[in-house]
């Protein structure tokens, strides 16, 4: 395969008009990502008709929409880190280590680190897409229900790392998340579960509503409580930037997370939220030797941010090569392609080199633009934390309500968010972590649906889970991720023992 499309594409992407459009898209994306609940899919749905009716050529429209999409993956981290309010679904795990850093006064550093790891993730993924898009598209086809199920087994195996000093609470949280995913339509039987005849519950609880309830509303309640008690301390904001050593330190965690994120992004059945969850737990499993993850470890911050950007980029692979959307947002973009009468598929790279090349080239440029745009703004964003609480607390609450209501246009959604928030507050008072609930929720749905679909297809034969090479590889990986860290620790302990004179 030749790479003519890339050179042609560079020409397209570097045209002043397209550069400007890319810049606008990146900027809008960052803002959209930063606002809670409002995600790239809303932004793109709004922009698409405007782009189409204003007569933008197909490649410019696609550059704009794509820039909003991956720009949002950059923006989502800002509210996660500063306010513990994930800006979009892919930024949930960013809050786990990002927010503690902000509480320590290292908001600027956290924002810079996550900006750089977003850049690592986005950039490596674009390079991977340039060279591997067509060969990788078979992955999307080869993944059937059985393979998705085993992938989720792998994901749950990495969850072992989340079992901290209170394994019972972690497991309970995880089970709570699993139980929450069972609400809504059960596709395998067509029955509604736990919906209490409320149409709002037919699709189950939206992930982003759960997340905003658990993180932001419960956070507001905690802040109010300490305000009343008079123990709320004003935050210190030090303007420290990360050192070169730290930027180098997050390179390997980012690379590992990018590989995971990109592959999960390529798979149409999983998205940025699964990518960031699995990359975080994998990184914790591999690197968390001193128990610093969850308390503001920069590797725990870098991994999910690199992964969600890589996943967003990976989602373009099946869209461009197979015409299958890799995520909800790429589904809308696919609609855009059809509006322009362009048929996606492997021949797209040959027939529409300007379009595909222009899009891919613009993503190289876009990631650089986003890095340049995000780093200087870090100090400005970090200062937001200096706002007095009488602005901050109502502000977070208002943003949460507005975001959820804008995205779902229903009062019920807002009430569900508050309900979850109050439960989240109580759980946090009891010493529960929010992350296992979210992980159980994200992974549980994919796992259940695919487990039952696989068995529906095999007529109840469990052999289907071991019938393909891919499944076997995933089983081996799942076992390895459980055993390898244990083995590594033993070996280290043995070495340490051997190194010490008796």
């Amino acid at each position: 395969m030749s790479f003519d499309f890339l050179w042609q594409g560079m020409g397209v992407a570097l045209m002043p008009q397209n550069l400007l459009i890319g810049l606008v898209g990146c900027f809008l994306g960052t803002i959209i990502g930063c606002l809670p609940a409002i995600g790239p899919i809303n932004g793109i749905a709004l922009l698409l008709p405007i782009a189409y009716t204003s007569g933008l050529p197909a490649e410019s429209a696609l550059i704009l929409l794509a820039a909003v999409y991956y720009g949002a993956e950059y923006g989502g981290r800002i509210s996660s880190i500063l306010l513990n309010v994930p800006g979009d679904a892919g930024a949930v795990m960013t809050a786990v280590d990002g927010y503690p850093m902000a509480r320590r006064g290292e908001a600027a550093k956290a924002l810079a680190i996550s900006g750089i790891s977003s850049f690592y993730g986005g950039m490596i993924a674009v390079i991977a897409m340039t060279f591997l898009a067509v060969p990788l598209s078979w992955l999307a086809i080869k993944f059937g229900p059985a393979e998705y199920f085993v992938l989720m087994v792998f994901a749950f195996a990495t969850l072992g790392s989340m079992v901290g000093h209170e394994p019972v609470k972690t497991l309970l949280g995880c089970v709570l998340g699993l139980m929450l995913t069972t609400i809504g339509l059960d596709a395998t039987s067509g029955a509604y579960r736990f919906t209490f005849d409320q149409p709002e519950l037919h699709d189950g609880i939206e992930f982003i509503i759960l997340v905003i309830g658990l993180f932001s509303i419960s956070e507001v309640l905690l802040m109010l409580e300490s305000q009343v008690k008079g123990t709320l301390k004003p935050l210190a904001v030090t303007g420290s930037y990360p050192s070169w050593a730290e930027i180098r330190y997050i390179w390997w965690p980012s690379v590992r997370a990018t590989v995971i994120g990109f592959i999960i992004g390529v798979l149409p059945g999983t998205g940025a939220s699964v990518a960031s969850a699995v990359s975080y737990t994998t990184e914790k499993r591999l690197s968390d030797k001193d128990g610093t993850f969850g308390k503001g470890d920069i590797r725990g911050l870098a991994a999910p941010e690199a992964a969600n950007n890589a996943a967003a980029t990976g989602a373009f692979v099946p869209m461009l090569t197979l015409g299958v959307p890799g995520s909800g947002t790429t589904a809308v973009m696919l609609g855009a392609l059809m509006l322009y009468n362009i048929q996606p598929g492997p021949q797209l790279f040959v027939e529409q080199p300007k379009l595909v090349g222009g899009l891919i080239a613009s993503m190289y440029i876009g990631n650089i633009l986003l890095l340049i745009m995000n780093l200087p703004m870090v100090q400005v964003f970090a200062r937001m934390l200096l706002m007095p609480n009488w602005i901050l607390i109502p502000g977070i609450t208002a943003l949460s309500i507005l975001g959820v209501y804008t995205a779902y246009a229903s009062v019920m959604s807002v009430l569900i968010m508050f309900g979850i928030g109050i439960i989240g507050y109580l759980l946090r008072k009891l010493g529960f972590d929010m992350a296992p609930i979210v992980l159980g929720f994200v992974l549980g749905k994919v796992m259940e649906v695919n487990f039952r679909n696989a068995l529906a297809l095999s007529g109840g034969e469990f052999g289907i889970f071991f019938s393909s090479t891919l499944s076997i590889i995933l089983w081996i990986m799942a076992i390895a991720i459980v055993l390898v860290p244990i083995w590594l620790r033993r070996r280290q302990a043995a070495r340490a023992a051997a190194g010490q004179p008796a």
């Binding site: 749905a45 009716t53 999307a140 709002e200 699709d203 149409p268 299958v324 598929g345 229903s410």
Partner: protein
């Protein structure tokens, strides 16, 4: 997404008083995420109406996700029953869900059905390398050993994709409940599963499968229609032609709230009647892979009610 426009609409509608010839502001509500079938219906209506200059300002599109239109249905009946500027996207899938009582306590008589804008058709497909070349062969082979033919569809058990296959299964004398049916996430997932060999039969919509059929990635065995479709479908036989009197049109249309005035209802029906005759509309409709389906006003109302009655019987027969 609800925009400020919408609030402006509400405010204006309140000020404007009853029965204007043309609603001050028009809005189309899609009861799902952006990018789906309801969104497509709204955009088809909005773009064509504006292009044909039948409305002054572009129609706003808002989204209210939940229960494949159930939330929007209940919202309109409960909260905005008299808003004459608001149309809501619906499809034969909505009629199916209403028939199964999945739209809550309201039935098909709870809203005013305005008209259909176009239709798609159900299809049955197998992978390109399958030895099966016709619907007859498929039904024979499926009847002999249903277990050898896992089916994939883009909806739950009881959804349109499941129903289509249940009708085929009935022809093969197979109990629909004995089908090995995987409920996948949308048409794209169905075609990838078929190409990957995870399923042997795909149940889906004509417009989303035709490109892969033309590229030789899968084989459409039959269009579930009583007449041959034009264009890219001119060489694909229908169920009727192959001797099976089953069809599955997937119409896409609009309704308004139950308390919308007769004048506003009539304005919508008349405007859509004018619209469907314009070239702008035909162009927009074809760009979205929809075929002509002229059913408006009272005729459409009858159609919807006949459909829900038919679907009730089907669901009962299939043992749902």
């Amino acid at each position: 997404m609800r925009k400020t426009l919408l609030f402006a609409t509400l405010a204006l509608a309140g000020l404007a008083g009853p029965a204007l010839a043309q609603p001050a502001k028009t809005e189309c509500l899609a009861g799902a995420k952006p990018g789906g079938g309801f969104d497509l219906t709204c955009r088809l209506a909005g773009n064509a109406l504006h292009a044909a200059k039948l409305i002054k300002d572009p129609m706003a599109v808002s989204y209210m996700e939940g229960g494949v239109g159930a939330v929007a249905y209940n919202h309109v009946i409960g909260t905005r029953p008299g808003d004459g500027g608001l149309v809501i996207a619906a499809s034969s899938g909505s009629a199916l869900l209403i028939a199964q009582g999945k739209f809550g306590k309201h039935d098909e008589n709870a809203v005013r059905w305005v008209g259909a804008l176009g239709t798609d058709f159900g299809i049955v497909a197998v992978s390109a390398d399958s030895p099966i070349k016709s619907l007859k062969e498929l039904i024979a082979a499926f009847g002999k050993d249903p277990g050898a033919f896992p089916v994939g569809g883009g909806g739950a058990v009881g959804s349109q994709d499941w129903m289509k296959m249940a009708m085929i299964a009935k022809e093969a004398k197979v109990d629909p409940k004995k089908m090995r049916y995987a409920a996948l996430e949308g048409g794209g997932a169905v075609t990838t599963a078929l190409q990957g060999g995870h399923i042997k039969i795909a149940s889906g919509d004509a417009s989303e499968m035709i490109n892969l059929h033309q590229q030789g990635k899968l084989r459409i065995l039959a269009v579930m229609s009583d007449r041959r479709l034009p264009g890219a479908f001119k060489d694909i036989p229908t169920t009727y032609e192959q001797g099976y009197l089953i069809d599955w049109p997937i119409w896409r249309g609009l309704y308004v709230g139950p308390k919308v005035s007769d004048a506003d209802y009539k304005w919508w029906v008349d405007t859509l009647t004018k619209l469907t005759k314009t070239d702008e509309f035909v162009k927009e409709r074809e760009a979205r892979g929809l075929f002509a389906f002229d059913s408006l006003g009272a005729d459409f109302d009858k159609r919807v009610k006949a459909d829900t009655a038919k679907f009730r019987a089907l669901a009962k027969e299939a043992g749902l």
